[in-house]
Amino acid sequence: MKELICITCPKGCHLKVDEETFAVTGNSCPRGAVYGANELRNPVRVVTSTVVLESESFRRLPVKTDRAIPKAKMFEVMAEIAKVRVHAPVRVGDVLIANVAGTDGNVVATRSVKE
């Protein structure tokens, strides 16, 4: 059994999830069951970080993955992000790395910098 804290609402139910059947106990609503099963089947996270920015005003540009990527790939994604250098101008939403680490997610700028 895997123990988890449910994050779908502030109650924070302590869930127990069967690692083979993905059956969830300890939840107080159906959303908790879905969350618990997903966390074991295919846990995903949005990764946010910064990349080196060549600009007059800032040294770093904030970025994120534009979708949740597999949790197990977080550090692989970070390694890809570390290789990027961006030159201003850049606009929020600009794709800086497409299909990062084979996750189908893109790393995008989360801020616009003019110069």
Binding site: I7, P10, S28, R60, R111
Partner: protein
């Protein structure tokens, strides 16, 4: 003297939202004064996501959330003056400002919105014993170094306090290659959101020590060790429970304090419970025409609530400019059992359609009621499955419920039965 209809002190999420709503309410001469080099406030360094679920119905990062408001203001004539510090504020709404571009300048404002935000409690505020070595940072300062400047403050980290900034920094430091050894919380519960406990600590197997605190800091030059001890129910360290962590960095996430030095200078009445101004239901302070919103009023945990509150403040400031001040009988609000404070602290009985009250509970409650009493008479009751001090609560009382109150203070309290 320079004049402006509405001056907003602070260009963070509160100031930006107040400006936008005042503009939409018809005020055309709006000036935002921002001390930093750019608008956006603390959101600029909060590069993680999770902002905007209420307001934009999508998950944004801090810079994206701020960027949307800055973008919306581009379509208006609202002026944002950055690199500008307000040195003094007087009760007759004169602001003494200084900036490299405009020098020293006094500005007379028709109305003012205070939106200066908050600051972090420091090592001194909680008198952590031990050496005066380097390596002890407030979590927010470390966050600025990491996310804005691009520097790491250390490699082996202990975090004191499980507030959201501390939790977020645990993940950020880990992703950037540091080893976070522990997150230590004085209280028996975390001050942060569950989501952050799970995704910032549990995801990286970082232990959370509840009912523990840092009892010693060692290091001749740079931090070398911290001692963590369990505390008893009176929050006093229990001898014999010490754990020693070899680390080079201690991050403090031990609370936020509204920054009301300017408000005090002007003579705005401050509520010792919130450390923010005492306000009416429209965010007006004890000085007519001076409004307050966001973290300068009380510390929020969701920027979406800051936005909503600031929209109300901006709208009220606009009404003040256009139609003059509100009058009418005031009714005091007070906090009863289990409630730490209320915002607003008082309201006018002829409140238009509803009264929204924000507060924090003093401990964790399950299946409890928020009750509002007029003397002995309960006028409203709200059920909550779960309440925690880390999560701001709010209730909305329809105006019709307030029609027949006696005029004495209303009390908000928590009832379990």
């Amino acid at each position: 003297m320079t004049k402006a209809e509405l001056v907003i002190i602070g260009g963070g999420p509160a100031g930006l939202a107040a400006a936008l709503s005042a503009w939409e309410s018809g005020v055309k001469d709006i000036l935002i004064l921002e001390r930093d080099r750019q608008a956006g406030g603390i959101l600029n360094q909060c590069i993680h996501n999770g902002f905007g679920l209420h307001y934009f119905k999508e998950e944004l990062t801090g810079p994206e959330y701020a960027g949307r408001f800055i973008e919306m203001l581009r379509g208006t004539d609202v002026r944002v003056r950055t690199d500008t510090m307000v040195l003094d504020l007087t009760a007759d709404r004169i602001l003494h400002t200084v900036s490299p571009e405009h020098g020293y300048e006094a500005i007379r404002a028709g109305a003012i919105v205070l939106a200066m935000g908050c600051r972090e409690r420091t090592r001194g505020a909680i008198s952590i014993p031990g050496a005066r070595c380097s390596g002890v940072f407030t979590a927010g300062a470390a966050q600025r170094f990491l996310n804005i400047e691009g520097y790491m403050v250390g490699k082996r980290v202990v975090i004191l306090g499980s507030g959201d900034i501390g939790l977020i920094m645990a993940r950020r430091m880990t992703l950037e290659g540091a080893k976070v050894l522990a997150c230590v919380e004085l209280m028996p519960y975390s001050g942060g959101l569950n989501r952050n406990i799970v995704q910032c600590l549990n995801d990286f197997d970082i232990p959370l020590y509840l009912s523990h605190t840092v009892t010693d800091v060692r290091g001749k030059d740079r931090l070398e060790q911290v001692t963590v001890s369990k505390v008893d129910e009176n929050r006093r360290p229990i001898p014999g429970t010490e754990m020693v962590f070899d680390c080079d960095t201690l991050l403090l996430s031990v609370g936020l304090l509204p920054e009301n030095e300017l408000s005090r200078q002007a003579g705005v009445e401050i509520d010792p419970r919130t450390n923010g101004p005492r306000v009416w239901e429209n965010c007006e302070t004890s000085i007519p025409g001076v409004f307050a919103c966001g973290n300068v009023l009380h510390v929020h945990d969701l920027v979406d609530y800051v936005t909503a509150e600031s929209m109300r403040a901006g709208e009220a400031a606009a009404k003040f400019i256009q139609a003059g001040g509100e009058t009418g009988d005031g009714v005091e609000l007070q906090n009863g059992d289990g409630v730490g404070y209320t915002v607003p602290q008082h309201f006018r009985r002829d409140v238009s359609d509803k009264l929204q009250i924000f507060f924090r509970v003093r401990r964790i409650y399950r299946d409890a009621f928020i009750s509002v009493y007029d003397g002995e008479r309960r006028i409203a009751r709200f059920k909550r499955e779960h309440m925690a001090p880390g999560e701001m609560e709010n209730i909305t009382i329809p105006a019709m419920f307030l029609k027949h109150i006696t005029g004495g203070p209303l009390t908000v309290r928590i009832e379990e039965d």
